[in-house]
Amino acid sequence: MNIKSLKIKELPILLILLLLSLIITIANPTFLTVENFLDILKSNLVLAMMALGMLMVLLTGGIDVSVASIIAAVTVITGQSLIHFSSNIFVTILVACLSGTLMGLVNGLLIAKLKIPPIVATLGTMSVILGLVLYLTNGAWITGIPDSFIEFGRITLFSFELVDGRTIGFPVQVLFLIPVIFLTWFILKKTVIGRGIYAIGGNLESAERMGFKADRILIFVYSFEGFLIGLAAVVHTSIMRQVDPNAFLGFEMQVIAAVVLGGASVLGGFGSVLGTVIGVSLFCVINNGLILMHIPVFWQKIVVGLIIIGSISIDMIQKQRVEKNKIRVDVE
């Protein structure tokens, strides 16, 4: 890869991330400890995985507000499957991914085949799925997840001992995130369908003229997103060791916000895996920083809202300035 293309685009947000980290570290040095880093990582694995799925959706020019209801549904299914069917980790992953993919597929079909605008289609499926989840569970927590699965969730990698004698390490769930990042990057960067995702987001008509099958790509994107949500549900369940059907209320906004922070455009065509990873990190660091600086947790939303609006506003103002000063005639 050529250095120049090494994402000048992602540089500003990376700088913001570094600057913010610096400020937080000055306010509270705890921020820059391995322990805190691992904490941040563990509590945001689900967000990161779902953000990558959302990235693909935004790239096509779509949006998906049903993601929170889908993961709620999949965690419930996963929980039930673990308790009543099999506690085997592979079976669990299979069940979760299959159910996630199926729900994503429904979104994909509604959007690609019935041409329902994504925001409306996913609002509809969100209502249906969430309604079913709450009806079937009555909002009650699912406990009694088998011990073997809980033990699995507690595994740490590269463990080491801290000065105070406690042992910490990378949570095993990282093993899910890393392949997901790689896989998403691989699909977007290295496969024809991935470039097709960018192409239909950039210019739908031309992409079809070039031979891309837009409806197949859309169906793939929403299904893949469902698949990632399935994996995220397994990760979530293994970390929380129980299932709360209400745990994800409003989570879709956080996912979208993180992806947008990472520079993806809701109009489609622009955005990258690297940007999204940085965006998610920024999101997490803000949350973590607010806690470390003892700022009430409610401020988190204010800060996130302001950052979303602020960053896009700056972008728009710059674009307008460029447009205004554009040379339209070479005056002699």
Partner: protein, 494 residues
């Protein structure tokens, strides 16, 4: 001249109520630049769409390429056979790199699962090499100029092994230098044996590069001629079946200044623009596309505020920063692009005409007087003869000429002092053109000052009293139109 590449035989296309093409047949050779000409509505774009597989021709028609009959052509099939259209909008991807824009089609075509960036780079490099272009591969296409984007589109065609390259109005938004560069490239492609089908309205350009001309008129094939058989006038008379003879209106010298433009300048748009529009006068503003005509018009109308300069209306200084201020001051602007800037296509004639006068047809409480709205609409529809006579008709369903009348009505309803019309007869059939001309002349006679921007010199000569010629953002000359001919103007504009 090369051998026959494409044989087009007995191609017809019938749309409900219209025979868009009737028994059209001609050959295109390898290594030639073949001009396809005809007026708007002659069937050129229908033919392109059939060649590119967007439309299916009626039974009985046949397209043969290299001896192979192309049946049931789809856009993809057409592309695979090497027929590539460079559309006016280029059909490129602003968010992808130059390299991908050129080479991505390859992977799609081969039905690959994975993309090879190395292979793409090689393909793109090769295509750009063939065109003798040096561009940064990794720049997103959206950051390039229009001319460069077009060259990328051509490079993509080469990468797709284009055998027949169809260029649809390729010069419409290029500067003179860029056109020259494009022609060089077209000639070099021709040398490589590629067939080029070149569609343009600009006769000088057609003659500069074309080997043969195929003329269509009203969906009929008129003939194919080699370049030395024809001159401008003959070509025009073939296109229209008669020489373009607009009614030439008598030229008047008006003395009473209405709108005075003094030292208008805007960086990257125009420089030192000075002219005076008089009451009752039609002033033509011409020049090549890209000379800055529209930019000046939009500056007067408040869409493109100037860096410096003053404007006087009836001798009083006037500062305009937004269109609504212009409208209030009595300035109206009929934009060039009727479909995207002039009309709300999804709404009715009535809604469109009343849009600019909502204030004056509303009561103090902000509610629109629907009776007034209707009577105002009917008045203008009647005066301008808009057909069908149904105020509720959607704008999208009208013919080009009637659409233009609706846009003009919208402005006349504001009772303007100054009317600016940008390419008033663009895409309108010849009968409707003369009616628009007559209308503009009548409006001028009623005391309006009219600024007509047009690339069509016969139109300027027919209706304008005076003409201002722009070149590279400046007004080169202003002339009284009496006794002027096209060459007099063209020599200044070029």
């Amino acid at each position: 001249m090369g051998r026959t590449l494409v044989e087009i035989e007995k191609i017809s296309k019938i749309f409900p109520g219209v025979k868009a093409l009737q028994n059209v047949g001609f050959n295109i050779n390898t290594g030639e630049i073949h001009a396809l000409i005809g007026e708007n509505g002659a069937g050129k774009s229908t033919l392109i769409k059939i060649l590119s597989g967007v439309y299916q021709p009626e039974a009985g028609g046949k397209i043969t390429m290299n001896g192979k009959v192309l049946e049931e052509l789809t856009p993809l099939e057409s592309l695979r056979n090497g027929i590539v259209v460079i559309y006016q909008d280029f059909s490129l991807f602003p968010n992808l790199s130059v390299m991908e824009n050129i080479a991505l089609g390859h992977s799609v075509e081969k039905n690959d699962t994975l993309v090879s960036w190395k292979a793409m780079e090689a393909i793109a490099a090769d295509a750009l090499d063939q065109l003798g272009l040096i561009l940064d591969f990794h720049v997103p296409l959206g950051e390039l100029s229009v001319a460069k984007q077009q060259l990328v589109a051509i490079a993509r065609a080469l990468a797709n092994n284009a055998k027949l390259l169809i260029l649809d109005e390729p010069t419409s938004s290029l500067s003179k230098g860029e056109v020259k560069k494009l022609f060089e490239i077209m000639l070099s492609l021709k040398k490589r044996g590629i067939a080029l089908l070149f569609i343009s309205h600009k006769l000088d350009e057609l003659f500069a590069v074309s080997d043969r001309f195929t003329v269509l008129r009203d969906g009929q094939y008129i003939g194919t001629y080699s370049e030395d058989e024809l001159d401008d006038d003959q070509l025009i008379s073939l296109m229209v079946g008669r020489k373009i003879e607009y009614t030439i209106y008598p030229k008047n010298k008006k003395e009473e200044p209405l709108l005075e433009i003094q030292n208008f300048s805007k960086k990257g748009n125009f420089q030192d623009i000075n002219f005076t529009l008089h009451k009752g006068e039609i002033l033509g503003l011409t020049g090549l596309v890209g000379a800055g005509r529209t930019e000046v018009a939009q500056a007067i109308f408040g869409l493109n505020p100037v860096d410096e300069g003053t404007m006087l209306l009836d001798g009083a200084p006037l500062v305009i920063n937004t269109p609504d201020e212009a409208v209030k001051a009595g300035i109206a602007y009929v934009p060039e692009n009727r479909l995207q800037e002039g009309l709300v296509l999804r709404k009715s004639i009535e809604d469109n005409i009343s849009l600019s006068v909502l204030d004056s047809i509303s009561a103090n409480n902000g509610l629109v007087d629907l009776t007034l709205k209707r009577s105002l609409t009917e008045k203008w529809m009647d005066q301008l003869g808009i057909r069908p006579n149904n105020p509720q008709m959607l704008a999208s369903k009208l013919s080009g000429g009637n659409q233009q009348r609706v846009v003009i009505s919208k402005w006349l309803a504001t009772e303007p002092r100054v009317l600016i019309v940008d390419e008033p007869t663009n895409g309108i059939d010849i009968g409707a053109k003369s009616e628009i001309h007559q209308l503009l002349r009548e409006l001028a006679a009623s005391g309006l000052g009219i600024l007509v921007i047009s690339s069509e010199l016969p139109e300027i000569l027919a209706i304008a009293d005076r003409v201002a010629v722009m070149r590279h953002g400046r007004i080169i000359t202003q002339m009284f139109c009496e006794g002027l001919n096209q060459e007099d103007i063209m020599s200044k504009a070029l």
